[in-house]
Symmetry: D2
Subunit: 265 residues, 4 copies
Amino acid sequence: MAPDASHAKATPEGLRIAGRIFGSRLLIGTAGYPNQQVMLDAISASGAEIVTASIRRVSLEGYAESLLDLLSGKHILPNTAGCETARDAVLTAQLAREALETEWVKLEVIGDRDTLYPDVEQLVRAAEELVKDGFVVLPYCNDDPVTCQKLADVGCAAVMPLGSPIGSGQGVANPAAIEMICARSSVPVILDAGVGTASDAVIAMELGCDGVLLNTAVSKAHDPVRMAAAMRDAVAAGAGARRAGRIPRRMHAEPSSPRLGLIGS
Amino acid sequence: MAPDASHAKATPEGLRIAGRIFGSRLLIGTAGYPNQQVMLDAISASGAEIVTASIRRVSLEGYAESLLDLLSGKHILPNTAGCETARDAVLTAQLAREALETEWVKLEVIGDRDTLYPDVEQLVRAAEELVKDGFVVLPYCNDDPVTCQKLADVGCAAVMPLGSPIGSGQGVANPAAIEMICARSSVPVILDAGVGTASDAVIAMELGCDGVLLNTAVSKAHDPVRMAAAMRDAVAAGAGARRAGRIPRRMHAEPSSPRLGLIGS
Amino acid sequence: MAPDASHAKATPEGLRIAGRIFGSRLLIGTAGYPNQQVMLDAISASGAEIVTASIRRVSLEGYAESLLDLLSGKHILPNTAGCETARDAVLTAQLAREALETEWVKLEVIGDRDTLYPDVEQLVRAAEELVKDGFVVLPYCNDDPVTCQKLADVGCAAVMPLGSPIGSGQGVANPAAIEMICARSSVPVILDAGVGTASDAVIAMELGCDGVLLNTAVSKAHDPVRMAAAMRDAVAAGAGARRAGRIPRRMHAEPSSPRLGLIGS
Amino acid sequence: MAPDASHAKATPEGLRIAGRIFGSRLLIGTAGYPNQQVMLDAISASGAEIVTASIRRVSLEGYAESLLDLLSGKHILPNTAGCETARDAVLTAQLAREALETEWVKLEVIGDRDTLYPDVEQLVRAAEELVKDGFVVLPYCNDDPVTCQKLADVGCAAVMPLGSPIGSGQGVANPAAIEMICARSSVPVILDAGVGTASDAVIAMELGCDGVLLNTAVSKAHDPVRMAAAMRDAVAAGAGARRAGRIPRRMHAEPSSPRLGLIGS
């Protein structure tokens, strides 16, 4: 029985983005925790090295200094959550760069406030402009291989297709699309949005993702710190299983023990 | 947003079967590895404390002593793989008790050699007889709540419903059935058969299983040792996520960041 | 592109059970309609020729004559719904034979009143006894190939595995199991229980079922008569698609139009 | 037991596009049949009134006249299959208008030749231009609610999101996305691409689609004419079930027969 070769392709040990290598493949958000201590404990339990925060929360609420202090040692990834046009997103990213002294940005340009789906046309435009301006751009996008290709072509450091709508907890709604994107992408693919529980993160990694970004699944869990630890294990499990090369799915049973020499036969 | 209470029910820290507590919730088989060293390394990487082996292989091939020596420190669980009648299974279990000096047995009574599905009528009969004879019986059974109830009623120490056919790698084919069995069972539920990759093990635990037993998914993986480690992480992730209480699935998006104070709004 | 040969196997034009041929592959129940007229209209719209009724309702409520009159022209299939032992089910079947002058019986022996799953041990015993007594037995059973084989072996005229729990509307919870049962069965396979909407019935037929039995999906729909007509079309669609031999599933796109001669290329 | 109200919303009897009403909700393609007679027989068996053809095939191969003659009585929908830019697609549509004397066009602008996913940026641009030029535009697009909204906003007469990649036969890969698009759309939603068998078409309709467009599922089936008839029934079944208002999915069983008055109780 040959293992499924398509799953056996080697995945590098760490997550490499824009020349930096991170030991953890889990990226985590900072919104919606019961309180700040739970947030800090959860982030710690998750093992995440990259932590994303809305620049609005960081800079406009006079919150920046303390949050930065609290998260020292983490790689801060400001995001442009809530922006609905390329122009707003670019402006917000620039504001974040100034406030946080980082050129990294998680680029969000949403198409409407109900679905929170990206507006891919505005997204590609904003990405292109920010790349030209020296940013390391990680865009939140659709599970659409053509848009992912365009984002890589304009110089994004990774692509971050949604698993399912933000905060929905539906997991990877279209595994075939994510697998196709991973198989074709020249830049790292990070599943962003939709993760609801540990198995969702494992599945994303097994499909070939290089990392998983999540927030609500941890911050709104009954026990955020325990869920954060579960997510750490989940990403490790999925990355390991992917590299290990799973057995093929079969329609029929296959005995694990040899059939010869049965007692009574 | 309230977490899903049905998932938040506490799961005890360890796997308790027949009064013994095991730190690991993963049970692993010994068949089909490329060689003995890979088997030992994989078992070690899996963290499993309970290791199952066909008594035929152990006792009839003059293999018993060395395998027992090699696995010293592990809790050996002989199985009756290949038995097709209650009578054969009982006989095989008794033989195992004598050879291995253990009263524990993984009870398999298959209904045919193609599907390897259990013959539940013979299974319940064999289980009842073995329990009366002092065995600690862990039966491989269907994902059928009525059969699981009968097996608990005759005194089995756990029930081990299949996820999907043995060796098929289809994972948990009927999650609703497994969830229903877990919700109703008075004894531990261990998913047995069908696991193909790490996410399958996580899903089983998230549905409420107390443990996972697998063999082929590790022994026939491209890299068994790496897959064993992934399975260790997977079971931990699933158990943790179950205890942590996942967020509910929603049909609609839910922003993780607050909507007030948007730049540009 | 070759069609999927496993789906192309010929299915006979009508549903043949115990030597009788029925033009419709849909079997329908009589319980739970808003009123009797809706029931009759729905049965008519469904095109079903076999109509099942609980013998309890038929005979004990003094309802028999009128229901029989109303359903004249239909093949009445009394069922033993609610029976929990072989003995009760046999008794109920005999009572039905006397009251309705039919040797046909839908055999139900449930294992508990919560899950309504069959008790397969009692079921096989009751089936065997009824077959010996001259009945045409159609048993409601698990999606378990071994139990289905036993039921065929004791002489049942068909097997009726559940798609999912009675009244749950979950559809075919384990398609691989139903497909395996269909591929191996020597008697007709009729999916019984769990159908919630038209696509569930289509899927059952595409998996190889010879017929579908349903009740709640129609009787409790918002518009039972319209749903009955939809189920008639669904069973026809599924049977037709099965016979027509579907295209294979592919991971990649395949243009329907030839690529040569593109304008602009 | 209340039916699921979200599914009970009324669907009009016919498919209304740009002021015209079609009795059939199935749209069918003309490519890839074994021969022309099978194509004609299949189209006839499908009951489709709208038939799509690549303008390249129609106009460039000197094939136009005969195909038009053969399909007289059908509403011809020329498509721009194979176009990769807005400019090419607009040019092709104009060519089609001249050759076929119709202002209707199925607009395809693919992003690459491997995935055949649309390039939504080019697509919206081409749609806008064609609408301004007086065309009735039916665009093949992603299962992306934001893109669908933009296409409706620029004046498209319908939107046609993919179920899964063209020719893949994967069916509706992301049912939640299709359902969301249907719930929000101000213009008819026609599932286009990915249908492999009858159940896929039923599911699309149950999710709220107003129609289904398919080609390969019929033309490459083992028996195209029989599959075409199955698709006709499938679309009717799905539309009927949607209108009828399905029962809710439940995690637990629900007896169809009343529990009182059981024999033996």
